[in-house]
Assembly symmetry: C2
Homo-oligomer: 242 residues x 2
Amino acid sequence: MARSAVKRQVNRLPPERRISDIMKAARDVFTEKGYSEALITDIAVRAGVVEGSIYRFFANKRELLVKVVELWFEELLIQDAEQFAGIRGVWNQIRFIVHTHLLSIRRDPALSRLMFQEIRPTPDYRGSRLFKLNQAYTHRLIDVVKAAIANGELRSDTSPSLVRDMVFGAIEHRTWAFLRNEGDFDPDQIADQITNMVYRGLATDRKGAVTFDTLFTRLDAATQRLEAITEPQTKKRARKTA
Amino acid sequence: MARSAVKRQVNRLPPERRISDIMKAARDVFTEKGYSEALITDIAVRAGVVEGSIYRFFANKRELLVKVVELWFEELLIQDAEQFAGIRGVWNQIRFIVHTHLLSIRRDPALSRLMFQEIRPTPDYRGSRLFKLNQAYTHRLIDVVKAAIANGELRSDTSPSLVRDMVFGAIEHRTWAFLRNEGDFDPDQIADQITNMVYRGLATDRKGAVTFDTLFTRLDAATQRLEAITEPQTKKRARKTA
DNA sequence: GAGCGATGATGAATGATGTTTATTAGTGGC
DNA sequence: GCCACTAATAAACATCATTCATCATCGCTC
């Protein structure tokens, strides 16, 4: 028939190459348009394949999304783990975790959005690979806090998992503001702020907005004055009794 | 024809009643199935109207969702504001804000999910009514923190907006865990934990897990000893000079 | 209370998209 | 050079959100 007169062009790249082409295209389209606005057609065209071909490698649109985010997250996790090993000190470790996370969000804000918006809310997230990856990621902070509690550097009545929730929650809220184009998003500054707030805490006495540092300073001063006073006194007494 | 033999039944309830029926049905279906799984047909059937009727009152499916969440959020805001006025003391105020928010999440977890998942991520959220309502809601915490900084009860180097992000971020993370059926969700306990962590902070000295309280106690002790020592001394001197 | 226009409810038709499948191009063994 | 098998293709299909031509109902007029 007329049909067979038009020869069908067939793309015969090796499967790994086709898969990576599709995933790269999917990553681009998903991040540019978001999940529901992204069309399978868009992805197929950009990958240089035909719609049907995508379904040879991915069960459906959602699986494709999950695979894309997974790949991103894995890279992020491996990359951070290497550097993290070298950090010493609780403050520095907390700050490192927060800072690197903020950096990767700034590098790929749209992927974070996909993670928060499309992946986490689904019912099957809990059993998924991404859930475990994310747990591994956030658990580093819990380990740091636990160790710091054990050696007395952080209060023993703090819940490590709550610290995790506060820190990553704060990061997330800043991220949403960033995604909404509200003001700037400075990973250095935000990391400092979050780390300080977790590390030093907020409370003061009623009088004058003191910090832990100033409390320690006052205590030191008082101790020194005590020593300075008690010393001469004992000398005086010694003289008197002498 | 055969068609006209079947008389069309027409629903002639007053518009307000139809709107509230539709919104109630929409609320049920959205919370049960989530936004994308919820079908307009489902909502129409449950509301006892026909698909087309929904579009007389709502521009599209999304607007219906927004209106549903808006209604919920408004009620929540009004209700809380009344009680809040009576609370005295920073700790109690923070704890109240956190606690009531947790209670309303436990009452309607699925609506919180819709808010976080479907509403907040959209580009038009920033200019929306819900955005303003949410700002009003979270701004109470900022006001409390600002006032507390002004009167010296909280450190002056804390960022009120960061406190907001940490508190609501922590609430949100606990909510996700709750929605995933991970363990229990006890508003009283969580509210205490969050409030304490914000209010008292985490840091200690290197030696022995001291808290702000113990630091104050030590400082008080040192001050008293100082006074106890310097007082007799001045008396002695006074006597001497006399 | 019959006729008539306006209003708005109806549900079948439309269009946009994810997914499936019958068809056909390419590949390698014999 | 034929055949069987694999895999790519693109058209067909299914699933909704959304639209719209049709018609029931109401209020008004005479």
